[in-house]
Symmetry: C2
Subunit: 155 residues, 2 copies
DNA sequence: CCTAAGTAGTTGCTAGTGGAAACAACATCA
DNA sequence: TGATGTTGTTTCCACTAGCAACTACTTAGG
């Protein structure tokens, strides 16, 4: 089977970029409308929810979301003001601070997750068969793994 | 053939998001290093290069890149300062302003395009066969079209 | 112990982004 | 000729995110 011209094969990536941009925008609107929360909160809340005790050290959390510490400090400030997260001491280490989901924080996460998933279900899944979804997942995982290696953070 | 559980099929989208993020970061580094230009310039330069006379009205260009007019004003300011674009009058309409690529602007675009393509060639294409690329393109186009319809700008 | 060096998290500063609204210059249409 | 609409710019504001300086604490070495 002949390989298509490179130019034409690149269109696959362009299409993925456009789909990502458009669907992300839909996602932002949906989250704002149905959950009253910005997409930017998602990563932090997911990581906290999945952590044991729904809590993580600041630095662990910063690493998990691939952001700087000062970034995390300020994001946790926001979430604390919103009542979704509270800071507590990290036991033995007097320097450490743990961010922990409050009861409301857990509820908020579940809501966010519900809206997030439902947006994917209605705007992505109907356009990909099971086989197609498998192809996308396989290829994209390889691409991401390679790119992260290139960036010096394999994982 | 049984449909995989929804949860598992969603992983395809998550993988695409992560791949997009990582490859975009690689792209930014590459463009900065090899062309000395930010990725944010790409869209504007492409649209200008492909336009007749390498020039477009400000409002047309703003529409083309899906950004506001004030955004475009500032981006053209940057590109003008860098010597890649110049503003000229829009002939019959005294209000209008056309942004036009300078000679350097054309050279810069070609350079940017070369680096951009080569990043895709080395970080995406090797991980997708022709058949896989076709699947990705087909699905992502449908997703993007639907999302844009949802956002109220079909196209 | 006690000091030196390192680590965790916060804060001040800075540069940049991008939208909304006000605005000036011009066009169009009655 | 006004009234209204358009085009592009500007001002103002809120937000983002990194760097570097700082505080508070821990740990290692003498």
């Amino acid at each position: 089977m002949p390989t298509r011209p490179t130019n034409e094969r690149r269109q696959a990536w362009y299409a993925a970029v456009r789909a990502h941009g458009a669907l992300t925008e839909v996602m932002e609107q949906q989250l704002e409308a149905d959950a009253g929360m910005p997409l930017g909160w998602y990563d932090v809340l997911v990581n906290l929810y999945l952590a044991p005790g729904h809590a993580l050290r600041m630095s662990e959390l910063a690493d998990a979301v691939l952001m700087s510490r000062s970034w995390l400090t300020r994001r946790i400030d926001q979430l604390e003001r919103a009542g979704l997260v509270e800071r507590c001491s990290a036991g033995d280490d007097g320097r450490g601070v743990r961010a922990r989901l409050t009861r409301e924080g857990k509820r908020a996460y579940l809501k966010l997750e519900r809206v997030h998933s439902s947006t994917i279900d209605t705007h992505f899944l109907p356009y990909a068969t099971t086989a197609e979804a498998e192809v996308i997942q396989r290829v994209m995982k390889r691409v991401a793994a390679n790119a992260r290696r290139e960036l010096g953070r394999p994982e």
